[in-house]
């Protein structure tokens, strides 16, 4: 399938291993990525906090660029926050032809126009709804046997449920667990899986922010998780990059590896940890690498990890 691909900002900034691993995994899943390199930040809720119209117009521009990609089945993102912020803007844009016309008026200078009802899905949703779990299962080369994985969704991809069209027929708030199981892993149930990582207030209330991250990591540790997996690079920043600070804040020794979703999929599909950028993580994914070594025996963790 061909997708208009929006990698977001952080996947090309402080979590470059996310964008990199997505590019490695896509061909194995037969996904052709057409990167929207002229598109702009989704605003992450902050631009909408400043001006709804500004956020809506920037995202309408991104949608319009995606709609120009010939032969694309849909637009795909790899960031929970992009998914949520863009869905919010899309909801407003799709709700009123008058408003859309107004926003398209601002885009007219670039000869762009957003037509209502774009399909914009996070990689997680694409895996379950487009590729299908059966097909995904068939592609697994290195089942995640005995790997205990805690899902961490990120708020923006699970709430609000009506906007994100989450219901019994489409249990998008269970998809991470379903994917982990399909890849052969064990899903760890712990208190923080659907909670907030705290990242949005890191500059406003660092203590509260890091306490949130620290608690979830601690809960996952107590539940004997080997690692967490997240479809959100912003959560990854608070859970991995800030983990040493979070550990200090909650007064615990935390060493919980946090994988990006494409990395976990890539491991199961037979890619090497280094190809997937696992060496860039602040918390060394020792438990994950040890596991692949013990099961596959062919993956060697380079010295110095």
């Amino acid at each position: 399938m061909k997708v208009a691909y929006w990698p977001g900002c952080v996947s090309r900034g402080f979590t470059p291993e996310l964008h990199g691993s997505m590019e490695k995994v896509a061909p194995l899943l037969d996904i052709e990525l057409v990167e929207l390199d002229r598109a702009s930040c989704c605003g992450a809720g902050v631009i909408a906090e400043h001006s709804q119209e500004l956020a809506d117009t920037l995202n309408a521009r991104t949608f319009a660029l995606a709609q120009q990609v010939e032969g694309a089945d849909l637009m795909m993102n790899i960031c929970s926050t992009c998914q949520g912020a863009q869905s919010e803007c899309q909801q407003r844009l799709d709700a009123s032809a008058e408003y859309r016309e107004h926003v398209n008026g601002t885009l007219a200078g670039e000869d762009l126009q957003y037509e209502a009802n774009i399909v914009n899905k996070n990689f997680l949703w694409v895996l379950v709804e487009e590729i299908g779990l059966e097909n995904l299962k068939g592609l697994v080369r290195r089942p995640l046997t005995d790997l205990r994985v805690g899902p961490f969704y990120g708020c923006y991809i699970v709430r609000p449920t009506d906007r994100l069209k989450i219901d019994d027929e489409q249990p998008r708030d269970d998809y991470l667990g379903m994917v982990i199981e399909t890849l052969g892993g064990t899903v760890i149930d712990y208190a923080g899986s659907h909670k907030c990582c705290g990242f949005p207030i890191i500059t406003m209330n660092k203590k509260a922010s890091l306490t949130q991250a620290g608690r979830h990591l601690g809960d996952a540790t107590d539940a004997d998780a080997d690692c967490l997996v997240t479809p959100c690079p912003l959560c990854h920043l608070n859970l991995d990059l800030q983990q040493p600070m979070a550990a200090k804040e909650v007064g615990r020794d935390l060493k919980m590896p946090v994988l990006h979703l494409p990395q976990l999929v890539g491991l199961a599909l037979g890619l090497e940890p280094k190809e997937l950028g696992l060496q860039h993580h602040v918390v060394k994914p020792t438990s994950v690498i040890d596991w692949t070594q013990s099961v596959v025996g062919s993956v060697s963790a380079p010295a110095g990890w």
């Binding site: 900002c9 952080v10 090309r12 900034g13 402080f14 470059p16 291993e17 002229r38 702009s40 930040c41 605003g43 809720g45 902050v46 909408a48 906090e49 400043h50 001006s51 709804q52 119209e53 500004l54 920037l58 521009r61 949520g84 909801q91 407003r92 799709d94 709700a95 009123s96 008058e98 408003y99 107004h102 601002t106 885009l107 670039e110 762009l112 209502a116 009802n117 708020c155 923006y156 709430r159 609000p160 449920t161 019994d168 909670k195 907030c196 705290g198 949005p200 207030i201 500059t203 406003m204 209330n205 203590k207 509260a208 949130q212 608690r215 040493p244 600070m245 860039h280 993580h281 602040v282």
Partner: protein
């Protein structure tokens, strides 16, 4: 009639015993409420089950509980629906979170919820001179605050607030939605004072993490988080309140960052949120972040060049959007909760570009010009 089993969390802090689960099977029609189930168990099996209720019609806000882990009104949740949401065929009922338990399903609303409501001066501070007759306000300004007025003070949002979970002093979603009810009211004379208090408080509007939990929890569609975002918008845009919590600075740093770079340059955002790389406020923050930065560099997550320089520049089209919208007086904002698509909302625009439509369920939406001014604008009261 059908049988339903309730698993009620029982706890009496005065007894000295730990909380425990108490399973009770009741017989009721499936469309009856969870509250009726609890009351039947209390009336027929164990009179000591503690539950608070009054109207039984989802309007008094007394019977807020957690059903299968989700917040809601016991009187507004059907037994058959609750059963669908249960993990093991038993409907789990717990007291609300973030508030101390008085007994069983009764939490101490005074200690948390009402104290926070009092904190935001929950009454209208009238303008002087007081008009001879009533205040006359534009209709759309009332539409703007209708959503926050729908609050029944049940505490469901407080129960589920993830910020309050780690910071009990956070003013919280219910009180902040209440605050918007007055900040959005053109008759109120203390918008600026209210916003200064809420933005300067370490546990005020900038303590909200944007987790949507309160939107999901509210049984009345108040969407407290949206009201908090409005408070932030008005605080920064209309009153230029530069708070000590970096809330407004972070917002402006983010906006400027995207106007310049198109996509976020994180290495600039952090120091700019504290006032700039060399600002006295930024220095201790940057020093405390040094271990994180060094680790990121060691792991080659970022390279020094990437941290210092940012090769991506915003396309002209993006800059133009910023200039067009920021250059205008005010922007367009959809107020209140938006539902449906064009087909449902095919109402033609009203005068002066104001789109209003009252949907069947009295969910109202308005597309209002100059929304960055508190609803109705300054001096709109007569």
């Amino acid at each position: 009639m059908a049988e339903f089993t309730l698993r009620i969390r029982r706890y009496d802090p005065q007894s000295g015993d730990a909380p425990y689960w108490d399973e009770r099977t009741v017989e009721l029609e499936p469309h009856r409420s969870v509250l009726e189930g609890i009351l039947q168990a209390r009336n027929e099996q164990d009179g000591s089950i503690g539950v608070r209720c009054s109207c039984r019609s989802a309007i008094c806000g007394s019977c807020g509980v957690r059903i299968n882990g989700e917040p809601g009104l016991a009187c507004h949740t059907h037994l058959d629906k609750a059963l669908e949401g249960s993990k093991d065929g038993v409907i789990e009922v717990e007291p609300m979170g973030n508030m101390p338990v008085i007994r069983d399903l009764i939490v101490d609303m005074d200690a948390v919820h009402w104290k926070k409501i009092q904190q935001v001066t929950p009454w209208l501070i009238g303008k002087e001179p007081v008009p001879e007759r009533e205040y006359i306000v534009p209709r759309e300004s009332m539409i703007d605050i209708t959503q926050s007025m729908a609050c029944i003070q049940c505490g469901a949002c407080v129960s589920d607030c993830l910020s309050m979970e780690v910071d009990p002093l956070f003013i919280g979603p219910a009180a902040l939605a209440k605050s918007y009810r007055f900040v959005g009211d053109p008759r109120d004379a203390a918008h600026k004072e209210r916003l200064e208090y809420l933005s300067e408080d370490k546990h005020g509007i900038y303590d909200c993490t944007h987790c949507f939990k309160c939107i999901e929890a509210c049984p009345k569609g108040v969407a407290p988080m949206n009201q908090i975002m409005r408070l932030r918008r008005i605080s920064g845009n209309v009153y230029d309140i530069e708070d000590r919590n970096n809330g407004e600075r972070h917002e402006m740093a983010f906006v400027k960052n995207i106007r310049k770079n198109g996509i976020l340059h994180e290495a600039d955002l952090l120091p700019d949120s504290y006032g700039g790389k060399f600002h006295p406020r930024a220095v201790p923050e940057l020093i405390s972040s040094l271990p994180v930065v060094v680790t990121a560099l060691l792991r080659r997550k970022v390279t020094p060049a990437k941290a210092m320089l940012h090769s991506h520049k915003a396309p002209e089209g993006v800059k133009q959007i910023f200039d067009d919208i920021e250059g205008r007086d005010g922007g367009v904002e959809f107020n209140l909760y938006i539902q449906g698509t064009d087909e449902d909302n095919a109402e033609p625009p009203g005068a002066e570009g104001v789109l209003e439509k009252v949907a069947e369920d009295v969910v109202t939406e308005a597309l209002e010009e100059a929304p960055v001014t508190p609803a109705g604008g300054e001096g709109s009261s007569a």
